[in-house]
Symmetry: C2
Subunit: 606 residues, 2 copies
């Protein structure tokens, strides 16, 4: 890929992962709602049906999809165009500052994909929260219910037992997800479906503690490097490996147009931090920021179809001094900008003072709030301090205002937190923010491993996911050091899929263990190809295996490369079963027979 080609997104990765097949399944009675899954075919010898797994890859993951980036993706939510309560309108003109005054050769062209522009026409329900409160089950709710269930049908008989076997810390894990349950969770504010009415390409995703744990991947150019081709492909690439949402954190020139390309080609929800672009528009000087430029940016991005906005409205003037004794001060970009603004003007920020108006704008497009933690700790030493928790209380107050305005809300969380202080974050968030979904970055459980912060943070992510975080924001190996490349994005996403899945397992989600158990059976049967395919990353698993055992025959060999042919313990256990059966057939002394009888029973396969 040419890093310097800023004009044309040339190509993106397509095709299924490994030998899996993308399938669409419609909930009973709703053939218009096509919900995507991946099905992993297993070796016929095992007699198991294909394993159905959650799929974030969008149309790109299909066998025969040829993307036309200029046209954008087909609508995954065709019902939007006829939904009541919406009006079409001309929309805001794109201004030179939206693209950082880039012009001529340096201007990335806008994405030519055409879409009708919608906004709320009046007081009728527009947001998923408004629908939910009105008792209306939307297509999006039906969609996500079906999506969450996976192969939960298959696990229905053991669902109760698995839920009881888990430890969900008070989450309300369901044996089976109904659209009505989704509606109820959204109405209570415990879940959101970030889905801007101007993002019809979106395949809806539910984010909430009583659903599968989700993962966000950040992409974005920066002043130092990047291109359109790279950013669109990063989004496709991240969702291919399992990012449920993608945040576009671009800064610098062309961000409006790059965002256009991304959203028109995104099947996952897209989040942004509008203050970054607002700051660009005023030449990077935080003191020149004001409500007008911010408001204009909100409308600009809402019209493009951004699904959630990070808004750092919790950074209050009085909290800035609380960061005084910190080792690393304020590390959130948005937090720093707002702290600087507040301190210099000696007043509350326009984000806080105009919060009502922000809500009114976001409601019109059903842009969800991701209330930013501008005062999150930047190191373990600063974790759980007064500044962080004071802001969290404010985020709780703002949540209630946003809910009153009909807006969906999630809350961002840290950051850097040692293991023993993670649960306090979760518990405090649930309490302060009325159980609004928590969306955490990591947290990193130690600061001493630059180059490995996907791991330091993956540990914290798994734990906080277990404790109740609804979505985990990934961290790549390049964190603190540089910009992630393609491999880093994949590593980050897979690490976070591990964390999310480990959390689902620990919470007792009934369908989660199906995949682990399918893997374990494949291991016991030496079905190597199935092991690769069931895994999160078939390519890497196959490659690692082939390094030691390159011959195709080894893929069915009854031994693995760790122990060699004579030693493998799984092989020995299999032999044991056989042996026990043979001994039993021959007959033995009474006591031995008694044992072998049990033994035979033990080791005979069903």
């Amino acid at each position: 890929m040419n890093l310097h080609d800023k004009r044309t997104p040339l190509s993106v990765t397509t095709g299924p992962i490994g030998k899996s097949r993308k399938v669409y399944s419609a909930p009973a009675g709703r053939p218009d709602i096509r919900v995507p899954f991946r099905e992993i075919p297993l070796d016929p010898s095992c007699g198991e049906p294909p394993l159905r797994v959650y799929d974030q890859s969008g149309p790109y993951g299909c066998d025969a999809f040829t993307p036309d980036l200029s046209a954008g993706l087909p609508a995954a939510r065709p019902w939007l165009s006829t939904r009541a309560g919406l009006e079409t309108y001309a929309g805001r003109e794109v201004k030179p500052e939206d693209n950082g005054f880039a012009e001529g050769d340096r201007l990335v062209p806008p994405c030519p994909a055409e879409r009708k522009l919608f906004r709320a026409a009046g007081a009728e329900p527009v947001t998923q929260l408004e629908f939910a409160r009105a008792g209306i089950v939307t297509e999006e709710m039906i969609y996500v219910a079906h999506r969450e269930n996976l192969c939960r049908e298959r696990a229905l008989d053991v669902a109760k037992e698995r839920i009881a076997d888990g430890e969900s810390f008070g989450a309300d894990i369901q044996e089976f997800i109904t659209p009505e349950f989704v509606r109820d969770e959204i109405a209570r504010g415990r879940a959101i479906i970030p889905a801007n009415i101007n993002h019809p390409e979106l395949e809806p995703v539910v984010i909430g503690r009583n659903f599968l744990v989700k993962v966000n991947a950040n992409i974005g150019n920066s002043a130092v490097t990047s291109s359109v081709a790279e950013e669109v492909e990063k989004m496709v690439w991240a969702s291919r490996w399992g990012a449920d949402t993608v945040m576009d954190l671009s800064t610098g020139r062309n961000i409006h147009n790059i965002r256009d390309w991304i959203i028109r080609n995104a099947s996952v929800p897209i989040g942004t931090v509008p203050i970054y672009q607002a700051l660009e528009k005023v030449g990077g000087d935080a003191l020149k920021l004001d409500w007008e430029v911010f408001k204009d940016t909100l409308i600009e991005q809402a019209e493009q179809g951004v699904d959630y906005f990070t808004i750092h409205a919790g950074v209050r003037l009085a909290y800035v001094p609380l960061t005084a004794s910190r080792v690393t001060g304020i590390v959130s970009r948005g937090g720093s900008i707002m702290a600087r603004w507040c301190l210099s003007k000696h007043r509350e920020s326009f984000l806080y003072e105009r919060f009502d108006e922000i809500c009114d704008i976001m409601r019109k497009y059903d842009v969800s709030f991701s209330l930013g933690d501008g005062l999150r700790p930047g190191c373990n030493a600063d974790a759980n301090d007064a500044a962080q928790f004071a802001e969290l209380e404010t985020l709780g107050e703002l949540t209630k205002i946003a809910w009153d305005k009909g807006c969906q809300v999630m809350i961002e969380g840290p950051g850097h937190v040692p293991m023993h202080k993670i649960k306090a974050n979760m518990d405090k968030q649930l309490k302060a923010c009325g159980e609004a979904p928590f969306y955490t970055l990591g947290p990193l459980v130690t600061d001493i491993a630059p180059g490995y912060d996907h791991i330091t943070s993956g540990i914290g992510a798994a734990m906080i996911g277990w404790f109740g975080t609804a979505m985990l924001c990934y961290v790549t190996p390049k964190e603190h050091l540089g910009l992630p490349d393609r491999d880093d994005v994949k590593t980050g996403v897979i690490t976070y899929r591990i964390a999310a899945h480990a959390a689902d397992l620990a919470k007792g989600h009934p369908a989660a263990r199906e995949r682990d158990d399918a893997m374990s059976r494949a291991r016991f049967d030496f079905r190597w190809t199935d092991q690769f395919e069931i895994g999160l990353d078939p390519d890497t698993a196959r490659e690692y295996h082939d390094e030691t055992m390159p011959k195709e025959a080894h893929k069915v060999a009854h031994f693995c490369s760790m122990c060699g042919p004579k030693f493998c313990s799984m092989q020995i256990t299999q032999d044991l079963r056989k042996e026990a059966a043979e001994i039993a057939a021959k007959g033995m002394a009474e006591k031995a027979e008694e044992f072998i009888e049990k033994g035979a029973e033990i080791y005979v396969r069903e």
Copy 2:
């Protein structure tokens, strides 16, 4: 490196890590006890002394050390040669079966390094446990006390506070480690110093819940691939990156002689699983195993200087049927071998029946027990089942027998365990085994990520380390797929150092946070080089940084590659401090002044 050169270990990696310097420090009054550390010099601008960190690299980590593998390492425990209670003797003859009947060109020559052979002469104390119970503080105890303290002197004033701030789940975290505390912990069986009297090259390490969490790395050839050069270098390489002990799990030909080369050149404790070699000696047929061949192998390896043996004596006949309903049966190699033996003979294993005699042999050389968990779960579905916990109870009984015989003991643990079932393992182990140190493999918190099992297990390892595990056995990215290469070993070790350190932090170890805080200050000051050097892997951190920002000038630049020059939040916070000071200097309206006065105080650096 030539993978096929089985004759000569050609070279091993030497020299310090990054810009750090290996130093030796002697406890007060004992200049003969030279305890190794690494000191990381920091940029003069910060005014901080060099950061002292734990160092496992042995003499190889020194600036000017030229290894002579044929001569072996110099003695790190010179006092052994004059210790009372020991006798020298001729020792067992090496037999052809010790090396799998390899001969001629296929026989790896023995390591020519000469050592006097010792064993206990009689009933006088020989093991660290016997010394400890007799109230005698050994040189090894003084050594590890000094080693554990690191820069704890520096943190003495905050030690109480840090311990109180941690959550150690009942561990007895010390403000400062004294030799007497070590003695007491060993006497109670709560800690061990695995240190065979025939391994004078060893730099002593203490393993126990009230000390820093340790990491083991496995190496070993197998029937499929490997060479001497590779194995010795793997050991040096693993300890370089932070393995506290190394297990040699070799099978196949030449294992006696390869082990010789490894031990004579190892500054870290070496563990083995003697049943593997015993099985080799009987041609791989578990049913031909008996006490005589096993006993012979124990003596053979004890004389070579192996520091701890994994003994699967807890696999009792009656427990084998308990694995009946498992998804993956028995996955421990040693466990499978013993289960097969028990089942076929319909009797308890010779490991269980002859446990007393095993203790008598191991005591003579102070080989520590690592009581193997032969029935550990091989998948999440099988975690914490009756088979696993029944064996654990038996390990507890055996612990008491070994203690009575004067032997040091640690207990091996799982394996594959979902997050919510990890703590039960730790709690049960502490109770069943009288607080003998727990030594766990992972555990892996999900089964679905082959290729990433260093991460699935690193999550579990950090948690169980926090809960009380004394040593974590690493898992590499190749787990379940193939044999780890050099890069895999490094990745595995670093992942587990992260887990161990995260556990230390969470437990409230007073000195642990020094390194995190040094890193955080370096981040806040934009001291890039210091950030690389303080990290666990300076090479990778520097490489990642240089990919985005290759110029040397950027290493002192006041911005990083993630945000670029205008946006960096740390830069903004620094500007804030400066700005506040300037505004304060100019004077302002009363209320603003009030704030700025505080603000100025906040942001002025000490």
